[in-house]
Each structure stands twice: as C-alpha cells, then as structure tokens.
C-alpha cells in the first residue's frame, strides 16, 4: 500500500506549506459516499441501511435528535468504524481498510463534540495541532499558521488541555483537523459546548477553508437553526436519510 499522501484540492497554492510533493490532479468528480451502512452494538442496531453523500465543495447539514446514530455515522464516514454492512467510497474508490489500515483516512477530517475527550491530555496545545503533521513527516509551519488563523495566541501553545477553556481547546481541534488539508470535513456537534461568538468564528473558519480548498463539509447537529444557516438550506433530516436507504 502506498504512503498515504492524500489527494489535494485542485487549487494551486504557490509557496504553500506543502513540501512533500503531493500527488496532483485530484479526482474531478466523486465525493464521500456511504451506502446501506448498518452498524450494531451488541443486539442494538444503531444504523440500518443508511445512505448519505457529500460532494466536494458543498455543505450538507445532518439534523436529528440525540441518540439517533448521527455520531456513529460520522465515525463510519471518517473511516474510524467498520460497518457490519454497506460501503463507503471516497472520490470513487471503495474503502477496504479501516482505521489505520485506511489509506484515504487523512483525506477526511473529523471534529468531535467534546474537545476534552478528543485530545491526549499529555499533549500541549501545539502538539495537538502539529501531531498529524509529525505523523505525516511534514514541516510544522502549517500548525503555526492554523493556530494563528483560529485565534490561538503563542502563549497558549505550551498549555495542556486542562489549562485552557473548552472554546480554546475546540479551536485547537479545528486547527488539527485542517492541518493535512482534508478533502472532506465532518463536524459532529462541533459547537454544542461553545458560546455564540466562538461558534460563529469556528464555522466561519471552516467555511473559508471550504471555499479555498473546495472541500466537502458534513455538518452534524441537533440545532436546526444553525444547520440551515450554515448549509444554506441543504439539510437532511435523519428520517429522510434512513428512508433513502
């Protein structure tokens, strides 16, 4: 299996931080697609033949009450959870390996609801952001740029998760999700814990990235008002998604 260099968005970015000589000519069409996904935990069937797709450059909102399986679907789409049945395709290529065995894994960024559970408590804030770059053996400049873009000051870089607020930690998690320039971003209740201003700021940063890189965004939330504003009406209700199976 080749080294996991993920396909880049078409936009040429002269003098950008990419030094690894990424593959060029990313697939023109495609999308992140889930078809007939079924997941059970024990006897409890969480997802039953669910289908959903996100095209590059679009925002899809996914609404539904808590406990309906939204987060499980997010984990399947981020290739972190292997479904019992169904297929996931990334830009036309079917996914065959999951978790660390998925070469397409870095093409998909995932932002979780609770930043505190999504970071290693021993890492500093800067380590949190830089970790994907280190794992991919890329220069760390981009981590500095992203931290700045997300409103994290250098004095926060050395702090550990317990020394910063939820809002500051979630900013670091958004920066981390953007480090490897993913083609798709899944935001799973990303702003539920945050105040209105931080919410608007983080959504604004993700929108700026989407417009620049042409990434597809799946915004998952139980907040219909937020989704309608963010996805400009392109919102799937959970029941519809199920019915589409």
């Amino acid at each position: 299996m080749p080294e996991s260099t993920m396909p880049e968005a078409g936009e040429p970015e002269a003098g950008g931080p990419e030094a690894g000589g990424p593959e060029t000519g990313g697939p023109a069409a495609g999308g992140l697609e889930a078809n007939g996904i079924t997941v059970s935990f024990g006897r409890h069937r969480v997802l039953d033949r669910v289908s959903l797709s996100v095209r590059p450059g679009e925002v899809v909102g996914l609404a539904g009450p808590s406990g309906c399986g939204k987060s499980t679907l997010a984990r399947v789409l981020a290739l972190l959870l292997k479904p019992m049945a169904g297929t996931v395709t990334v830009d036309g290529r079917a996914v065959t390996g999951w978790r660390h065995r998925a070469p397409q894994r870095t093409a998909i960024g995932l932002i979780f609801q609770q930043p505190r559970l999504a970071v290693d408590p021993r890492f500093t804030l800067f380590d949190v952001i830089a970790e994907p770059l280190r794992a991919a053996r890329r220069p760390l400049d981009r981590a500095h740029e992203l931290a700045e873009e997300l409103g994290l000051t250098p004095e926060l870089f050395g702090r550990r998760p317990h020394e910063v607020s939820d809002g500051q930690l979630q900013r670091a998690c958004v920066a981390r999700a953007l480090t490897l320039e993913p083609r798709y971003l899944i935001c799973d209740e990303m702003t539920t814990m945050l105040d209105a201003s931080t919410q608007a700021h983080l959504v604004g940063r993700i929108e700026a990235y989407r417009e620049r890189a042409g990434a597809g965004v799946l915004a998952i939330s139980h907040d219909a008002e937020l989704l309608h504003r963010w996805a400009d009406g392109n919102v799937r209700d959970w029941r519809q998604t199920l019915a589409a199976a």
């Binding site: 808590s66 406990g67 609801q113 939820d166 809002g167 945050l194 209105a196 608007a200 309608h228 504003r229």
Partner: protein, 302 residues
Amino acid sequence: MKLRVDGLSVRFHLPGAEVHAVTDARFELREGRCLALVGESGCGKSVMAHALLGLLPGNATVTGHAWLDGGDDPLDLVAAPEKVLARQVRGRLIGLIPQSPAAHLTPVRTARAQLAETLRELGRTETPDLLADRAGLRPDDLDRYPHQLSGGMAQRVANALALAGDPPLIVADEPTTGLDRPLVDATMAELRRLCDDGRAVLVITHDLRAAERVADEIAVMYASRIVELSQAEPFFSGPLHPYSRGLLDALPSRRFVPIPGRPPELTRLPDGCAFLPRCPLATAACEDQPLMNGKKVACHHA
C-alpha cells in the same frame, strides 16, 4: 428569600500568576425570579456559582459579600465557615443543578440509591419515588445506573437531587450543555416552573436562546466583570453593551458573525475596559475602567 451579591471577587493564585476570575460582581435575586448569567467560556461564570456554594479549590481567595436573606438573620455565604455551608446551605438553602448531570452522578450506584442517600443526609421523610415523580421520572427509571440513563433522564435525576432538600435558591451551572434542542427547551421549562413555584433561580449558561426562554433578567459577564444587567425583554430586543450586541449578532438566527479578536487572559487584564481591543465604539475614554455604578451597563458609550 433573597440573594444579594455585593462586590464579590474571586482570585486564583497560581505559581507566578493571579487569575482574576470574578471582579466586583453585584446583583440581586428574589424568589420567583430567574437571573441568567451569560458570557463566553472562560469568563468566570461557573466560578461565580462555585463561590456561592463554597466549592472553590484551596488556591482561591474570595472577597466581598453574598447575602442570603431568609427573613431573620442574613447569612454571608462568603464569610460562612465550611461547617455552616455543609450543614445549612448546600442542598438545604441552595440546590445545585450541575453541568453534565450524567458525569455528576456516581457511576456505580443506581439513581434510587443516590436519591435515598441524599434524602437521608438532609433528614427528609419523602421517598425517592415521590421525588422522582415530581421530577417526571418513572419509579423503574430509578433502578438504573447512570450509564443506562438517557441525557434527559440523567437531567431529571440531577434535578430531583437538587430539589431533595426543598431549597429556596437553585443554581443551575450550564444545565443544557450537550443536550439537544427539545431537551434544552424542556430543561428550561422545568427551571421556569421552579421559579413560578416561588424559588429563586440562577442559571449560568453560554446558550443565549436557552437564557431567553427562562430568564426575567440577564447579566452579561465579560473578562470577570458583569458588564450589563438588564430585564430580559429589552436585552434581547436592544442590548446596551457593545459586547452584548456582538454576542447576539453571532447567533445563527441573526447575523452569524463572530466578535472580532479574542477575550483577554484572566491573568493579564488591562486597567481600562477589557473589551476595548474588540470594541467598535472604543475611544480614549475607554482607558478608564467603566463601572456599573447602579446603571444597567458598564460602558462609557452605551
């Protein structure tokens, strides 16, 4: 019953730094009223709640007063010794509805066991079932362990625990974090009902829409200070402080634009107005700390 917070300040002492968590807070809360304390994360809202209950860690210094006036002898929650807080205040005069109720419960004991223990400690004669019924739980729900409770049920168990001692003042610290909208609305309706029953309710939240559903009054906190204290209706139709305006404008139902810049570190607050670097109205006058002084807003330009 009346709570009168008068010049309350909280400082945390860290090696090489001092955190100004709450500075000179002043407000009043009477029975049958609900005050919502709103603001960005890390502005000091939750510290206020913990200060009232005497639940701050050892490196905190609290100054000022928080008078709890129940008729005869007003009690200063700041000066009260731990014994008084433990035996007379917590659970009896002030009930706490905690952030993330599921995490607040003991994971290895059923809801019933925890309710029974609380009732016993408070010397109450009611049964857990009666309490649960009042909080909208079925008796068999009580036989579940915390991990078997849904978010809504855990919330109701937390409410039942907070109400076990029939306290006249309820402090709800981010009671809706992580709940979905119908559950937020249900929780707020429940708090409103407690209020209408004659209790005083202090809600601490970052969720402005939740605050709008329940509060009679809104206190906006920014960088450790209360910068606006208004009746809820005029607040949501025409906030006075530029920070309040920015917060409301950030809502997805309004302009959905963030306030530029970022809040200051509580270890290095400026001498002047802490909102100055982010404020569209800032002038040289803002180098002087604006104070409430009995007005509704702490701003030179509002």
